[in-house]
Symmetry: C2
Subunit: 478 residues, 2 copies
Amino acid sequence: MRDELQHRKNLQKMLEQVTVLLKKQELEKNLVHKQQQPRHDLVESLLFKRHLVELQQKLEQFHPADIAFVLENLPLEQRMIVWQLVKTEHDGTVLLEVSDAVRKTLIADMDNHEILCAAQHLDSDEIADLVVDLPKEIASELLISLDSEDRAKVQSALTFPESTVGALMDFDMVTVREDVSFDVIIRYLRRLKELPEHTDQLFVIDRAGNLKGLLPLKYLLIRAGKTRVSEVMIQKPIFFYTNDVAREAAQAFKRYNLISAPIINIHNQLIGRLSVDNIIDFINETSQKEILSQVGLSEEEDLFAPFWVCAKHRWPWIALNLMTAFIASRVINIFESSIEQLAALAILMPIIAGIGGNSGTQTMTLIIRGLALNQITTHNWLRLLFKEVSVSLTNGLLWGSVVGLFSYLLYKQLLLSLVMMAAMILNLLVASFAGVFIPLILEKLGRDPAMGSSVMLTALTDSMGFFIFLGLATIILL
Amino acid sequence: MRDELQHRKNLQKMLEQVTVLLKKQELEKNLVHKQQQPRHDLVESLLFKRHLVELQQKLEQFHPADIAFVLENLPLEQRMIVWQLVKTEHDGTVLLEVSDAVRKTLIADMDNHEILCAAQHLDSDEIADLVVDLPKEIASELLISLDSEDRAKVQSALTFPESTVGALMDFDMVTVREDVSFDVIIRYLRRLKELPEHTDQLFVIDRAGNLKGLLPLKYLLIRAGKTRVSEVMIQKPIFFYTNDVAREAAQAFKRYNLISAPIINIHNQLIGRLSVDNIIDFINETSQKEILSQVGLSEEEDLFAPFWVCAKHRWPWIALNLMTAFIASRVINIFESSIEQLAALAILMPIIAGIGGNSGTQTMTLIIRGLALNQITTHNWLRLLFKEVSVSLTNGLLWGSVVGLFSYLLYKQLLLSLVMMAAMILNLLVASFAGVFIPLILEKLGRDPAMGSSVMLTALTDSMGFFIFLGLATIILL
């Protein structure tokens, strides 16, 4: 009985099945080559193809999203073998599902005709997503091949910046007028034969295309057939403009548990729909981007790209970090003679710098999160700064004493211990100010506060940590 | 026209409106106190209450999720004033929406009767979420107040570990038999009068409660009334077991664009439903947790908690980082005499340690992401290790030369430059091995590879960086 149903598919297992079949095929190919004797062509190609046919049958059972997963996680050569076996009707959907870096490798392998075929199975909002990654001439050929209505939709979708609601919009919606009865609507829906995916409600518009309200689909089932739309429709729905910030729309979907929402233009005309599957994709992509950008990687990082491509991707990050490390090292250089007189300073200085960086990163993470969740206002940022500074002062006094005690046990120099303690308090204060102000200033400048902020913070806490500790030591001890 | 509709609500504005009203009320309270003369009681209390009444009217227009947002972002004292004004019927929903830390402060302010009232408006899966945060005696009183069916549901929901599908389950579903016609179902739905939120499909079960298939709600609208369920139902739906990993269910919802999915027990009996709103909440919570746990904070961090509570929350992180910093400093201590002889070593050593930490964190972020997305298998981890080591070697040679050149320009010592270069290559290799193995080992040990991994990595790259650089310098230069 259980086998009749389909459990959530096991991705690891799917990937393994494909890999095993690819390996078998590889092995036999090598075997034939090693035997050196040219066999009969037919036999040879049959042997080659046996596992590929089996593989193709496997792939046909896979959901396009799962094919995308498998393609993303195969090395380039094997990826191309599998890509050739995917049915053309799935090509478009798979291309949309894979990451940007992998999409480029797949498109490079397709000729113009294949690309145009793949696009035939896509909606206009999906074509818009694909078009940006196509070579220019194929992109324009593709646009010409569309009918004028679809072409207009694709072109309008292409005009919206990536972080806006417009970029997530689709056009799959059913509209009704407010003066019709449910019986009429049901007859209309039966003629349509199919409803767009994720249709949880119909959009009510007037003759001019203005949004008047929403009609949840379930009303059609639980209310009598002679009910009119205007009697029961939701008259104050949550809607979005195309230029609304996508991140805020995602938060609205989460807060109000939405499945779909209308998108209107500034003239209040309904022009599209935002649906929860696009929101989930957006949330996933954003959080991936955030995690990667914090360590200087782009979302396009392909786990299986050739190593020299990966190496090159990391150059800006290494260069940036080397630069800040050099600056910190120049700060230490100022106190070269102090270190020559008292090597203990060199031994203890990384403690002060390190703890400042760690504590500042905590503060900064809270502030960045607060900004992303709209928690920080002109009314409360000063209160937050005050709190973070108080926390740093408290922890500086407490853990500064601990550090002072330890260094006293090691070096038996009371003054050195006091310098450690004072430097730790001061650097924690620097860290808390930096942790609050760096993201706030980046946000004010219209930049993403998460990007690059941690490099700036540690550059500051390292340099200042060394400067404060070595400076105090030079003044007080030497 | 536009005002008739409701735009996605502006959270910042809502928060500001509340803050302004609270401030006005505060001001007037102070004014009355300052005048020192006891006014007539009635006038005084009227003045006090005027703004509160206005505030209450505002709050009544807010969605419970927005009230939760406002409560989360007010300092404790103001939070309590607002909480008193929230209508009892919303109490339960608001409690579910706020973060754990804020929920505790709100519950502490309610008496037993208020808590029981709040729970009356909740479903059994929601009560299960709330019960864990209640004082024990109220929790059991609440359970007793439920009817036996609901109590059984709450108790079963309480048994599922937080990271499983069972913990996200709700019981809001409509079931039908496979031999009935659409006309019969529609009559049945009309009698129900209301369908559960996010009902995009009905669950088809047999007499024994076994899941037989799914019936999308839209089929009822687009197919003829005499159609039977068995003719059109989806016979191989994607389903989940209660003990499936929640993270994988979330990925399945994303891949297959699901709105809801059935949850069954090992006997194939339908026991609950997983719906997209719970998945979105889960994704949000998980990514929040991930970002915070990387810097040693818990998801329960309340931005407006008193500063000494925050200070205490950060002790384990400071203690941990101080410990690793001390270990690194002990490594430097081994080479005290080398530093006394050549202070340049102390000036250059942070560069080697720092760049190792940054590069290793990049590698580790990719591996942690790969593990989370199921991308890393027994077939490919060795290939990934090899790639990361190659990348480190390449970048070590390239940027090691750059670093060597710079230090030659500064110190004009060829051997010192060669030591810098060699130490950089070696520490980048250490970093790439650590970046691959730390998360893989944590995962193998059944722990979350994201938690604590970056502390371990930087502890290693710092200590090894100092050891390699100072060790090589001592052998070659001194």
